[in-house]
């Protein structure tokens, strides 16, 4: 079975702090994704990566950056956290080879920015 893990289930940070969210997958997937989930808005794509050191902006990249130094690990960085970044963050991974491949999700990190 595919396993996607996220470093924290819950985080509380203060405005202006630099925040790192880590995601690791164990299935040698090329694609990795970061979403944020907000009530009534569903999931919105922040960034994705299709290979090591490669990244592409999603629909809402402002205020975020990402890092992918190893194939299995994809990090989301909030350079200076703000209260409007309080949300549930979900990481996902999938095979690149075919576009119909399923995305598999981690358990999520619920971030509260005070």
């Amino acid at each position: 079975d595919v396993k996607v893990t996220q470093s924290s289930r819950y985080l509380v940070k203060r405005t202006g702090e630099k925040v790192f969210l880590e995601c690791v997958q164990d299935m040698d997937h090329e694609n990795m994704f970061w979403y944020r989930q907000d009530p009534g808005l569903g999931l919105r794509l922040i960034y994705f990566s299709y290979d090591v050191k490669m990244k592409e902006k999603g629909d809402i990249p402002e205020g975020y950056s990402v890092s992918r130094e190893k194939k299995e690990r994809f990090s989301l960085i909030l350079e200076s956290a703000s209260t409007n970044q309080t949300s549930m963050y979900l990481c996902a991974s999938s095979l690149l080879a075919r576009k119909q491949e399923t995305q598999y999700f981690g358990p999520g990190t619920r971030l509260l920015v005070l």
Binding site: V4, R9, N31, Y35, G40, L41, G42, L43, R44, L45, F48, Y50, E56, G58, L90, A92, S94, L96, K99, Q100, E101, T102, Q103, Y104, F105, G106, P107, G108, R110
Partner: protein
């Protein structure tokens, strides 16, 4: 551009009754369609997907979905709902013409199954 609509914020159903969660989509090319379920404080779990072929797709936990190209719909169904089916359900679409294969999610439908 691709988009997904889930017209109902919440669906209420009594245990044992049929459950339907609606989804309509818009894409430029042919769609790849997915349903996911999210239990409280958990990530999304894959239920089923339509890629091509038979319009009726069967998935996990007794769920199925019917692809209707003329109505651009992909409704999720279960013949007899269980209390344990209470969760948040997401429909998602991927356009075959999208070079990155990104998913577009609907806003989600909360399903409440009462005993």
């Amino acid at each position: 551009a691709q988009s997904v609509a889930q017209p109902e914020d919440q669906v209420n159903v009594a245990e044992g009754n049929p459950l339907t969660v609606k989804c309509t989509y818009s894409v430029s090319g042919n769609p790849y369609l997915f349903w996911y379920v999210q239990y409280p404080n958990r990530g999304l779990q894959f239920l089923l997907k339509y890629i091509t072929g038979d319009n009726l797709v069967k998935g996990s936990y007794g769920f199925e979905a019917e692809f209707n190209k003329s109505q651009t719909s992909f409704h999720l169904k279960k013949p007899s709902a269980l209390v344990s089916d209470s969760a948040l359900y997401f429909c998602a679409v991927r356009d075959e013409t999208d070079s990155w294969g990104k998913l577009q999610f609907g806003a989600g439908t909360q399903v409440v199954v009462t005993p």
